[in-house]
C-alpha cells in the first residue's frame, strides 16, 4: 500500500511516471507488448496491428476534440491524405518508408492547417459541418484524381524496408506499428504538460478567457488541427504499409465516426482513455462475433438474425456508456485504481 509520495528534486516532480510502482507496471506492460506477437495467432496479431494504427489516429482526434474542444468529422480524410502521400511517394518516387510515412504526416498536417482555418470563426456543430465538407472533398479527390491516386482502384504498395529488412509479415509490422504508436503516445502525454498543450485545454474550457490570458486563439486552434491531422497522417502512412493497398473506400465518413466513438467511449481528453477506447471499439465487436459464432451450432438456421444482433448489442453498449459513464473507460480505470489504492483497508 502506498501512503505517500515524497519528492526531493524537481526532475522527480516532473517525471511522467512518478512512482516506482507505476514504473514497474509500465515495464510489465512493455514486456507484455514485446512478447505479444509470440503468444498469439495471426488473427489477434492482425487485430493488434489494427488497434495500433487506429490508436495513433484516435490520439490525434482526442488532441483536437477532447483537449482543444474542436469537433472534427473529417479525421478519416486526413488519414487518407497521409496514406495517399505515403503510397504515392513510395510507389512513384521510390522513397523508403521511413521518409514516406513522416511525409504522409506532413501532408496531412498541411491539409489540416487549411481545413482548420475556418475554426476561428465557427464553432461547435458548425465546425463539425465544415470538417464534414473536408471529408467529402478529400474522398472525391481520392476517387477522381485518377492520374495521381490511381482512382477507384487505388495503389498497391510494397512492404516497408529498413536496411534490407522487410516488414512483410504481421509480426514484423507489429513492432513497427507499436514503436511508432508508443512514441506518439509518449509525445501526446508530454504535450499537455507544456505551454502549448495547456493552451489547448484553456481554449477548450473557455476560448474567450484563454484569449484574455494571452493565448493566441487562431494560432492555437490551427496548431491543434495540425498536430491532430499529423497524427492521422502518420496513422494513414503506417496503414498503407500494413495493408499494402490503398483505395478511396478505405477512408469513408463511417471511419471518422468510428474515431469519434473511440474517443467518446474511451474518454474525451484522456490519452489513456484513447487507447482503451481503441481496444474496446476494435475488439468488442470481434468478441461478440465469437460469441454469436459459438451459438451457431445450436441455432443453425438463425444466423441471419444472430449476426446482426451483434451490432445491436454493440450499439446498446455504447449508449449505456454515454448514460452511465460519460467520462468513458478512462474514468472507470481511475475509479478502479482509487479503489485499490487503499485496499483492503478501506471499504
Amino acid at each position: 500500500m502506498l501512503i505517500g509520495n515524497f519528492k526531493e528534486t524537481y526532475s522527480a516532480d516532473e517525471a511522467l511516471f512518478r512512482t516506482a510502482t507505476v514504473r514497474a507496471w509500465m515495464g510489465v506492460l512493455a514486456v507484455g507488448l514485446l512478447a505479444f506477437p509470440f503468444l498469439v495467432g495471426d488473427y489477434l496479431l492482425y487485430l493488434a496491428n489494427l488497434v495500433g494504427v487506429l490508436a495513433i489516429g484516435a490520439l490525434g482526434l482526442n488532441i483536437l476534440t477532447g483537449f482543444t474542444g474542436q469537433i472534427s468529422l473529417g479525421h478519416a480524410a486526413f488519414m487518407g491524405v497521409g496514406a495517399y502521400v505515403a503510397a504515392i511517394l513510395s510507389t512513384r518516387f521510390g522513397l523508403p518508408f521511413w521518409l514516406a510515412v513522416p511525409a504522409g504526416g506532413a501532408g496531412a498536417c498541411l491539409a489540416g492547417m487549411v481545413v482548420g482555418v475556418p475554426s476561428l470563426r465557427i464553432k461547435g456543430l458548425y465546425l463539425a459541418i465544415a470538417t464534414l465538407a473536408a471529408q467529402v472533398i478529400f474522398e472525391w479527390i481520392f476517387t477522381n484524381w485518377t492520374g495521381v491516386t490511381g482512382g477507384i482502384r487505388g495503389l498497391n504498395v510494397p512492404p516497408a524496408r529498413l536496411l534490407g529488412f522487410a516488414f512483410d509479415t504481421d509480426r514484423r509490422v507489429y513492432y513497427l506499428v507499436f514503436a511508432v504508436a508508443a512514441a506518439h503516445t509518449y509525445f501526446a502525454s508530454n504535450l499537455f504538460r507544456t505551454r502549448v498543450g495547456r493552451a489547448f485545454i484553456a481554449v477548450r474550457d473557455r476560448d474567450l478567457s484563454a484569449e484574455l490570458m494571452g493565448v493566441n486563439l487562431f494560432r492555437t486552434k490551427i496548431l491543434a488541427f495540425m498536430i491532430s491531422s499529423y497524427y492521422a497522417g502518420i496513422a494513414g502512412g503506417l496503414w498503407v504499409y500494413f495493408t499494402k493497398v490503398v483505395t478511396p473506400e478505405n477512408f469513408p465518413l463511417s471511419l471518422s465516426i468510428q474515431y469519434l466513438t473511440i474517443i467518446i467511449v474511451g474518454g474525451l481528453g484522456s490519452i489513456r482513455g484513447t487507447l482503451f477506447g481503441t481496444v474496446f471499439v476494435t475488439m468488442v465487436p470481434e468478441m461478440l462475433k465469437a460469441a454469436t459464432q459459438s451459438l451457431r451450432p445450436f441455432f443453425p438456421n438463425a444466423m441471419s438474425y444472430l449476426f446482426p444482433m451483434r451490432d445491436i448489442v454493440f450499439g446498446a453498449m455504447i449508449v449505456a456508456f454515454l448514460v452511465f459513464e460519460p467520462h468513458g473507460l478512462a474514468e472507470m480505470w481511475n475509479r478502479t485504481k482509487r479503489f485499490f489504492a487503499l485496499w483492503p483497508f478501506k471499504k
Binding site: 495471426d42 488473427y43 477507384i152 498497391n156 495493408t243 473506400e249 462475433k289 459464432q293 446482426p308
Partner: protein, 391 residues
C-alpha cells in the same frame, strides 16, 4: 439443474470435437469470410446459403471420392479490415485449401499474402476485372464473367439488335464507386469496336434520390439503350419511372445484382421492357442444373419458393471449388491451393447443367452471359438471347 444442462452442453461440444478429430484425415476444408451483416448483407446471406448448400449437396452425392468437404464460414461485415482479420482467423484455425471472400476490397488487400504465404484457391463475391488478372492475382477466380464481360455481352446484343437505321446509341449510367466504374473503360473500347455510339455517361452517388437532372440528360441524349452499373435497386427504379414520365423510348439494362426478381417486384408495370445480363440461369428455369438445385432446396428448406441470383452465385462458386477438388483428387495429386489452381485452369467446356453456359476458364473467369427481358405478367425474367461467350 443448470449445472446438469451445462455439463450436457460441454459433453456435446466434447463429442463434436472428438468426432471431428477422428475424421480429420479425410476432410477438405473450404473457408469463407461472408458479408452476412453490413451493406452487402442483402446478397451475402444468400451467397452463404448457396455455397453451404452446394457443399452439403456434394457431400450427399459423394462427388469427391474418399473426401469429406467441410464448410467453415464467418461473418466479415463487409468491412475490409475486419474481413482480412476474419480471413486470417479462418486460415489459422481450419487450414482450408480454398477460401471465399466477401468483396473486391478483401481480394486486393489479401493478394500479397495469398500469393506469397497462404496459396489457396480464392473465389469471391466480386466480379471485378482486377481480380481476374492472373498476373497479379494468380490464386483468385471470378465465378462467372467480370463486370467488363457483362458489359461486353450487353454491347454485343445491342450491336446485333439495333432499334433502327444507323449506329445504336447507348448511355452508361453508373455510380462513382469501384463497383460502378470498374467496367467503364473496357465498355467504351468495346462499344467503339462494335460500332455502338456512347451518347451519354452519367455518374451518381449510390442511392441518389433525386435523379431529375440525370433523366433530363437522358432525354437530351435519346439513347436506344441505357446500361446501369454499380447499383442494386436505387436509383434504377427512380430513373426508369422518371424516363417513363418523360415518354422516353430507351430500353434500360442492368447487370447481375440488378436483374434479380426483386426489381420487377419493385417496379411493377414499369418493369416492362427492362433487360439485363445475368451470368446464371434463374431459379425457376427448367434446366437440369437448376432442377437439381430446386430438388435439394425442397428437401433442405421446405417452403422456400425462390432463391435469388446471389444464392445461385454461391452455389456455382461451390461447384467450381468442388470440381477443382474432384479433378485434383482424381489425378491422384494432393489437395493444395496450387493444384486446385492448375485444375481450375484446365476446366474447358464443362457442362454445369445450364446454370451457366459451357464453362471454360479463361484468365480465371468465365466470359459468358445471357441477356434476359422482364416479363411483368409472370414477374420473371425470360431469355432474350442465347448464352453469349466473348472472344
Amino acid at each position: 439443474m443448470r449445472t446438469r444442462r451445462i455439463t450436457k452442453l460441454l459433453a456435446a461440444l466434447l463429442m463434436a470435437w472428438v468426432g471431428s478429430a477422428r475424421a480429420a484425415d479425410e476432410e477438405v476444408v473450404i473457408g469463407a469470410a461472408q458479408p452476412i451483416t453490413g451493406r452487402f448483407a442483402f446478397a451475402g446471406v444468400a451467397i452463404n446459403a448457396g455455397l453451404q448448400d452446394y457443399i452439403a449437396y456434394a457431400n450427399e452425392a459423394k462427388l469427391v471420392k474418399g473426401k469429406k468437404l467441410v464448410y467453415q464460414y464467418e461473418d466479415s461485415g463487409y468491412d475490409t479490415d475486419k474481413a482480412v482479420a476474419t480471413f486470417k482467423k479462418i486460415m489459422a484455425q481450419y487450414k482450408p485449401v480454398a477460401m471465399y471472400g466477401e468483396s473486391t476490397g478483401l481480394g486486393k488487400a489479401i493478394a500479397p499474402e495469398l500469393n506469397g504465404r497462404y496459396k489457396v484457391l480464392y473465389g469471391s463475391a466480386s466480379f471485378s476485372s482486377e481480380l481476374a488478372d492472373p498476373k497479379t492475382h494468380p490464386y483468385s477466380f471470378v465465378s462467372g464473367p467480370t463486370y467488363s464481360d457483362m458489359f461486353g455481352v450487353l454491347l454485343e446484343y445491342i450491336a446485333k439488335n439495333p432499334k433502327g437505321p444507323g449506329k445504336p446509341k447507348v448511355a452508361f449510367f453508373y455510380s462513382d464507386t469501384e463497383f460502378g466504374k470498374d467496367p467503364i473503360p473496357y465498355a467504351k473500347k468495346k462499344a467503339a469496336e462494335l460500332g455502338v455510339e456512347v451518347v451519354a455517361e452519367i455518374v451518381t452517388k449510390v442511392g441518389a434520390v433525386d435523379v431529375t437532372t440525370e433523366v433530363l440528360t437522358l432525354k437530351k441524349a435519346q439513347p436506344d439503350y441505357c446500361i446501369f452499373q454499380g447499383y442494386v435497386l436505387s436509383p434504377i427504379t427512380e430513373v426508369i419511372r422518371g424516363a417513363r414520365d418523360f415518354g422516353l423510348k430507351t430500353t434500360f439494362m442492368g447487370a447481375m445484382w440488378s436483374v434479380d426478381k426483386a426489381i420487377i417486384d419493385k417496379l411493377g408495370p414499369d418493369a416492362e421492357g427492362y433487360m439485363g445480363v445475368n451470368p446464371y440461369a434463374y431459379y425457376y428455369e427448367e434446366v437440369p442444373g437448376i432442377v437439381a438445385m430446386r430438388k435439394y432446396n425442397e428437401k433442405a428448406h421446405p417452403g422456400v419458393k425462390y432463391q435469388p441470383n446471389s444464392y445461385i452465385q454461391g452455389w456455382f462458386t461451390g461447384m467450381v471449388f468442388v470440381e477443382t477438388i474432384r479433378r485434383t483428387v482424381a489425378a491422384g495429386k494432393p489437395v493444395t491451393g496450387d493444384n486446385l489452381r492448375q485444375a481450375l485452369a484446365g476446366i474447358k467446356d464443362w457442362d454445369v447443367g445450364g446454370i451457366i453456359g459451357k464453362v471454360s476458364f479463361v484468365d480465371n473467369k468465365v466470359p459468358t452471359g445471357r441477356v434476359y427481358r422482364a416479363n411483368v405478367q409472370k414477374g420473371t425474367f425470360e431469355p432474350a438471347s442465347d448464352w453469349i461467350t466473348l472472344k
